[in-house]
Amino acid sequence: MMELFAQIQEFFGPVWPLVWAMVKIVAIVLPMLIAVAYLTFVERKVIGYMQVRLGPNRVGPKGLLQPIADALKLMTKEIVIPTGANKVLFLMAPILSIMPALAAWAVIPFDPDLVLANVDAGLLYVMAITSMGVYGVIIAGWASNSKYAFLGSMRSAAQIVSYEIAMGFALVGVLMMAHTLNLGEIVRKQEGAWGLLSWNFVPLFPMFLVYLISGVAETNRSPFDVAEGESEIVAGFHVEYSGMAFAVFFLAEYANMILIATMTSIMFLGGWLSPVPFLPSGFPWLAAKVAFVLFLFLWFRATFPRYRYDQIMRLGWKVFIPVTLVWLIVIGGWMQTPYWPWK
């Protein structure tokens, strides 16, 4: 086995690091895309059961092949380009929206040793990359040459920019706890004698809530999905998209959900750490936490009615940002006293 490995390495010669990096990227992106496909299935099932329905159950055993059928359907559909649309930008928008959702995974640590790039400024990198996601939405709305799409993209842009600030402030709290921007180190700093009580979500509880809810808003999920708002603006920014171009937007939304769920698990829920001291830590814990946060996303969607636009803005600017600022001061002061239990 190792011999074969060495032979392959020799075959590629100087480009081997590039090839090896590509292999690792595929090893992360491929399971991610499968997870995205099955997240759409889980969403329909979970919401179905919550509404006392069965959800998809026709394709394959228990409907398990439904996402594959959906993918096939979307791939064979025509991509309609509206008259007067800016063709290049129209086709570029879905790519611009999925790129950040995938690129951010480069610095996410899956367990103590498994990370593609152990970057020191990992948290900043994730924030910078995800802040580029809004371009896909804006450009899609503008390039469609449609009023509904444009309205949707304007709403979405304002919403994403506003909630990014609250998210950033919530992460400042995490930085104060961890003294580092490296995501792996942030998880390691949460390791303590009390298991799950030494994770960041206990001392930073208000920030945890702010981050989680802002995450829902960032991904344009219900109840913050005014960008799509079927009842007012049809489907918002992607109303003119069809076939694979639409599917890529869809993929990006779900990939972003998984990303936000993973970030929440790493920042506040102790990443790969085990919640009780007598069980070993490892990747399954991270997966379980991500699944839990994703379930919350679906639960929100099945439970809450959509916010009005002005309520969204008020919640972001007048509630979340002050809450995080106040808690920053509380935490900062508390850390200086001898009564700080999370050392």
């Binding site: 020191d120 580029m132 371009y135």
Partner: protein
């Protein structure tokens, strides 16, 4: 040619191309998007210089926030592209002056040995454990804490001033008082009335069915 050099030339090529398109693109939205590309590429170049904090901050601040708002405004404007192009050549003289200054500055750097630039050697490569972000943070909050805080206060004053200067309150706008909306209780909105399900029998009205 080392890999680093290759990346440098590639990024420089993209950067120069994108910058040229910023001023030559006919559509202002395209210009703004090319400016975004220029920022991202410049951030890649800074990354090559081992200035990872500045590189990421450039993307975070300029690409993630400033250019989004910029694009917002440009998209909302109803711009007549032909009118916009009219004054293009009028800017030639100031542009030449700026270009001349830039050429002079580049000469000082590229022909550095005539200007004794070799008296300042290139910085040595940092060890792998060196964290640009950490060092910057330490400097900002220790040695340069007063200038840093001063700059932030000036920025805050600028934000408040910008809002104070442009805020016009219309007299006839109606606001919702969210506090009152939240504080509302069931009794304030709903009045329970006990009504019998049927009206007491009155004189029977003649109906169509009865007539037919």
């Amino acid at each position: 040619m080392s890999f680093q050099l290759f990346v440098f030339y590639l990024f420089s090529l993209i950067l120069v191309g994108a910058s040229l398109k910023v001023i030559t693109a006919r559509n202002p939205v395209h210009s703004a998007l090319f400016l975004v590309l220029a920022f991202v590429t410049a951030s890649g170049l800074w990354m090559l210089l081992e200035a990872e904090f500045l590189a990421i901050a450039l993307v975070l601040v300029y690409v993630g926030a400033v250019m989004v708002l910029f694009l917002f405004v440009v998209m909302m404007l109803d711009i007549n592209i032909d009118r916009l192009r009219e004054g293009y050549w009028d800017y030639l003289v100031p542009a030449l002056v700026v270009a001349g200054i830039m050429v002079a500055e580049m000469t000082v750097i590229l022909a550095g040995r005539y200007f004794r630039l070799d008296g300042m050697p290139a910085p040595a490569a940092k060890p792998e454990t060196y964290s640009n972000t950490r060092e910057l943070g330490k400097l900002i909050y220790t040695q340069y804490v007063y200038p840093f805080e001063l700059a932030s206060v000036i920025l805050l004053v600028a934000i408040v001033a910008a809002i104070a200067l442009t805020l016009r309150r219309r007299k006839d706008t109606k606001f919702q008082n969210t506090g009152r909306q939240v504080a509302v209780r069931r009794q304030d909105r709903v009045r329970m009335v006990s009504m019998p399900s049927e009206k007491p029998a009155a004189a029977p009205l003649p109906t169509d069915e009865a007539a037919g």
